[in-house]
C-alpha cells in the first residue's frame, strides 16, 4: 500500500468562478430580456447605436454562453477534477491567469460588441485581440488540467474527466479554426476563407460550440454532480463510455445541418443530416443514463430542489437532442430554418439543460464550499418553479411563432400569388408571441435573482473553506496482466488527449478539405466581381450594425422564396464575401436580392426611420449613419489584405479608391437629391449612409440580367 499523503483542495478558485457565473448570468438574462423587449417595443432602441438590437444580440449570446455557462463550467470542473484525481490543481498561478484572463475577455466583449467591433461569425464575434486573450486563458486552463492529471493520486480517470479533456482540446481546435483571420486594424480583421467555405467553417464551429462548450463539459458535470446529489453511482458506467466516444466522434460532423438548402454542395449537406440524425443515439444514451441514475431515489426528487433542477436539466437535454436531429431532416428544416422555432430549440438547451444544471450544481456546491447548509430550501424551490415556468413561457410561444410565420411565408393564393406578400404581415401575426417570450424571460430572470440571493446568503452564513484538507494514497500504478488498451488509456492523460483529438478531427477534415481544395465545389460565375471600395465600406457598416442578426442573405431554392425574394443563391456569388453573411434568422426579410429592388431614397428613408416606409416594422432607426462621416482611413489596408487573401483587386487600386468612392457617392447623392427635398449633397456624400446604400444596392445584382 502506498503511503498516505495529506494535501488541500483549492476552493477559492471554485468560489471565484461560481460567483462570476451567477453575476454574469444575471447580466446575460437581463440583456436577453431587454432585446426581447426591443422587438416588442421598437422605441426602446432609442436611436442609440450601442443600444440597437443588432449590436446587443451578440452581447446577449456571448454573455450567456461564455460568461454564465463558461464560468459555471470552470467552477464545476475545478471542484470535481480535484476530487476525482485526489489532487490540488496543478498550479494556483495558472488558475489565476485562467480566471482573470477569462473575466477580461468578458469585459472586453461587453465593451467592444456594443461598439460594433465584430467579426460577425455567430458566437465567435469577438475581434482578433480578444481572440488572442481567449487563447491565453484557454491554454492556462488546459495546462492546469493536464498538469493536475499528471500529478494525480487516483490511477484512473473517471468519465467526467474525459469529457472535460475533450472539451479542452476540441474548443481549442474550433477557436483557432474559426478565427483564422488577417488583421486590418486593431479592431478589424477579415477571415481567411470566403463565402461557402467560410460558412462551412463557421457552422462547424457554431454547431460544435454547442457540442463542446454547452454539452460535453455539462455531461462531465452531470456524471459527477448527479451521482453526488443522488448519492448513488451512475446507472451504467459502460454506457457512459459508449456515450463519450460515440458522441465526440459523431458530433463534429453535424455542422452542415445549419446550412441545408443553401449553396453548400449537396454531399456536405447529406453528411450533416445523416450524422445529426445519428446523434440521437449517443445523446439519448447519456440522457437515459442520467435519469436512470435516480432509480430508487425518485421519492427524494419531490423533496430535494437540487435533484429537481437536475431532473429538469437532463430532461431538457433529452428534449433538445431529440429535436436537433429532427430539425436536421431536410423537410423539417425547410419549415424551421430562419424562424423562431430555432431560438426556442436553443433556449430549451441553454435555459433548461445548462441553466438548471448550473443552478442545481451551485445549490449542491455552495454549502460545501462554505461549510454550512443552504440558506433556504424554500427559496430554492421557488426559484425552481419560477424558472420552469419561465422556460415554458419562453419556448411555447416561440414554437407557435415559428410554425405560424413559416406557414405564412409559404402560403400561396389559388391564383399562385404569395398570400402574405408583405413580410411585415407575417411579423404582425407573431407579435403577441414575442411579448409572451419576453414575459417568460422576465420570469427566468426573477428566478435567477432569487437564486443569487439564496446563494449569497448561504455564503454569508458560512465561511469559505479556502483550502480543504484531504488525504489519499500516493499514485501507485501496477499494470495488470492482459490489460485492455482502453484500460491503459484511462490512466494516460496525453494519449487520451490525442485519441480524443483524432476522434474530433476526422469529421471536420472529411467535410472541409475536399470543399476547400476541389475547385468544382464552387462553380465560378464570370459576372461576379469584387465589391467596389465604397460597397466594401458599406458592407463593413452592415457587419458593424449586426444586420445579420435579423436578415439572411441566402435565398433557398423554394418557390415560396424565389417568388418572394428572387433567384435562389449560388455558391459562386459569395466568393468575395469575407465574412459570409448568410445569417441564421429572418426577423426581417432576406436581403440577398435586395439590390435594385428599391430606389436609393427608399433605403435612405427606411434607415432614417423604418416606420417611414413600413408602418408596422420593428426594425430600429439608424440616425447615426446620417451623422457619422465615413471613416476611410483604413480602406487602403482593407484592399491590401483582401488582395492578399485572393480578391482580384488590380494593382494600385488602393490609390485610385478614394476618387472612385467619391464618384460612386456622388451618383447616389444625386439620385437621393432628385427624390428628397432639402438635402445637403456636399455634406451627405461624406456620410456612412451613402456607403451602406451602395452596398445594399449591389447585393445579388451580379447575376441579374442588366
Amino acid at each position: 500500500m502506498a503511503q498516505i499523503e495529506k494535501f488541500e483542495y483549492d476552493n477559492t478558485i471554485v468560489r471565484n468562478f461560481a460567483v462570476a457565473s451567477i453575476i454574469f448570468g444575471i447580466v446575460a438574462f437581463t440583456v436577453g430580456l431587454w432585446i426581447a423587449l426591443e422587438l416588442v417595443f421598437p422605441g426602446l432602441n432609442g436611436g442609440i447605436s450601442w443600444n440597437s438590437f443588432g449590436r446587443l444580440r451578440p452581447l446577449h449570446t456571448n454573455a450567456a454562453i461564455f460568461a454564465f455557462v463558461g464560468n459555471a463550467i470552470f467552477a464545476g470542473v475545478y471542484y470535481s477534477t480535484q476530487r476525482l484525481l485526489k489532487a490540488r490543481m496543478y498550479s494556483s498561478i495558472l488558475s489565476k491567469i485562467h480566471f482573470w484572463g477569462w473575466q477580461l475577455v468578458i469585459v472586453g466583449a461587453a465593451i467592444t460588441l456594443p461598439l460594433g467591433f465584430t467579426s460577425s461569425h455567430e458566437y465567435a464575434e469577438l475581434e482578433w485581440p480578444i481572440d488572442v486573450l481567449i487563447t491565453i486563458a484557454w491554454v492556462a486552463f488546459g495546462a492546469n488540467m493536464v498538469g493536475t492529471m499528471i500529478k494525480r493520486r487516483e490511477s484512473h480517470f473517471y468519465v467526467a474527466i474525459w469529457f472535460y479533456i475533450s472539451t479542452f482540446i476540441t474548443v481549442a481546435v474550433l477557436h483557432l479554426g474559426n478565427n483564422l483571420e488577417v488583421p486590418v486594424t486593431f479592431w478589424k480583421s477579415y477571415p481567411v476563407f470566403a463565402g461557402i467555405q467560410d460558412a462551412l467553417l463557421q457552422w462547424w464551429y457554431g454547431h460544435n460550440a454547442v457540442a463542446f462548450f454547452l454539452t460535453t463539459p455539462y455531461l462531465g458535470l452531470m456524471y459527477y454532480y448527479l451521482p453526488k446529489a443522488a448519492n448513488r453511482p451512475v446507472y451504467s458506467y459502460r454506457l457512459s463510455i459508449i456515450h463519450f466516444w460515440t458522441l465526440i466522434f459523431i458530433y463534429i460532423w453535424a455542422g452542415p445541418h445549419h446550412l441545408l438548402y443553401s449553396a453548400l454542395p449537396d454531399w456536405t449537406q447529406s453528411l450533416g443530416t445523416v450524422f445529426s440524425v445519428m446523434l440521437i443515439a449517443p445523446s439519448w444514451g447519456g440522457m437515459l443514463n442520467g435519469l436512470l441514475t435516480l432509480r430508487g431515489a425518485w421519492d427524494r426528487v419531490r423533496e430535494d430542489p437540487i435533484l429537481k433542477f437536475m431532473v429538469v436539466a437532463v430532461t431538457a437535454y433529452g428534449m433538445s437532442t431529440f429535436e436537433g436531429p429532427m430539425l436536421s431532416i431536410k423537410s423539417v428544416n425547410a419549415i424551421a430554418h430562419f424562424t423562431d422555432w430555432i431560438p426556442a430549440h436553443v433556449h430549451i438547451g441553454t435555459l433548461g439543460w445548462n441553466g438548471f444544471l448550473t443552478f442545481g450544481m451551485f445549490y449542491w456546491m455552495f454549502p460545501r464550499l462554505f461549510g454550512t447548509t443552504l440558506y433556504s430550501k424554500k427559496l430554492a424551490n421557488i426559484h425552481f418553479w419560477i424558472g420552469t415556468l419561465g422556460i415554458l413561457f419562453w419556448v411555447v410561444p416561440m414554437y407557435f411563432a415559428g410554425w405560424t410565420q413559416s406557414l405564412m411565408w409559404k402560403d400561396f393564393t389559388p391564383e399562385g400569388l404569395l398570400k402574405y406578400g408583405n413580410f411585415v404581415t407575417t411579423l404582425q401575426s407573431i407579435k403577441p408571441m414575442l411579448a409572451l417570450r419576453a414575459f417568460g424571460g422576465s420570469l427566468y430572470l426573477t428566478g435567477a435573482l432569487i437564486g443569487f440571493f439564496n446563494l449569497m446568503k448561504t455564503a454569508q452564513q458560512g465561511k469559505l473553506i479556502r483550502n480543504e484538507a484531504a488525504e489519499a494514497p500516493a499514485l501507485h500504478i501496477v499494470p495488470e496482466p492482459n490489460e485492455s488498451v482502453h484500460r491503459k488509456l484511462e490512466r494516460k492523460p496525453v494519449p487520451l488527449l490525442i485519441w480524443a483529438l483524432i476522434a474530433i478531427l476526422v469529421g471536420g477534415a472529411v467535410e472541409f478539405f475536399p470543399m476547400t481544395f476541389m475547385k468544382s465545389s464552387v462553380p465560378k460565375i464570370e459576372s461576379v466581381k469584387p465589391y467596389t471600395a465604397l460597397e466594401l465600406q458599406g458592407r463593413d457598416i452592415y457587419i458593424r450594425e449586426g444586420c445579420v442578426s435579423c436578415h439572411s442573405q441566402e435565398v433557398r431554392p423554394f418557390r415560396s422564396e424565389t417568388v418572394r425574394y428572387g433567384e435562389y443563391s449560388k455558391a459562386g456569388e459569395y466568393i468575395y464575401d469575407r465574412p459570409f453573411l448568410w445569417g441564421s434568422k429572418r426577423t426581417g426579410p432576406d436581403l440577398h436580392r435586395v439590390g435594385g429592388k428599391y430606389r436609393d431614397s427608399w433605403h435612405y428613408n427606411h434607415m432614417l426611420n423604418p416606420q417611414n416606409t413600413e408602418k408596422e416594422s420593428i426594425m430600429p432607426p439608424y440616425p447615426w449613419l446620417f451623422k457619422n462621416n465615413l471613416d476611410n482611413s483604413s480602406i487602403a489596408a482593407k484592399i491590401r489584405v483582401l488582395r492578399k487573401l485572393g480578391t482580384p483587386y488590380p494593382a494600385g487600386y488602393e490609390e485610385k479608391a478614394p476618387a472612385e468612392m467619391a464618384a460612386q457617392a456622388d451618383k447616389i447623392v444625386k439620385s437621393l437629391a432628385s427624390d428628397i427635398k432639402d438635402l445637403n449633397p456636399d455634406e451627405l456624400k461624406k456620410k456612412e449612409i451613402v456607403a451602406l446604400i451602395a452596398y445594399l444596392q449591389r447585393l445579388g445584382t451580379d447575376i441579374k440580367a442588366k
Binding site: 476530487r83 467526467a160 453511482p233 460545501r368
Partner: protein, 57 residues
C-alpha cells in the same frame, strides 16, 4: 461489369452509415470486454470522498 452497381447511390449516406455503425460496434465491444470489478470501481469514484452532509435544512 460493376459499373452499374455503384451508379446513382448516395455514397455520402452509405459511408456515413457504415462509420456510424462501426464506431458504435467498436465502442460497445471495447466496453463489454471490461471486467465488472473495474467498471464498479470507476463508477464509484465520485462517491469516494465522504462530503455528503445534508444538502439543506
Amino acid at each position: 461489369m460493376f459499373k452499374g452497381l455503384f451508379n446513382g447511390y448516395n455514397w455520402a449516406g452509405i459511408v456515413s452509415l457504415l462509420i456510424f455503425f462501426s464506431v458504435f460496434v467498436i465502442a460497445t465491444v471495447m466496453v463489454m470486454m471490461r471486467k465488472k470489478s473495474d467498471i464498479d470501481y470507476m463508477a464509484n469514484l465520485p462517491l469516494e470522498d465522504d462530503d455528503n452532509p445534508e444538502n439543506s435544512k
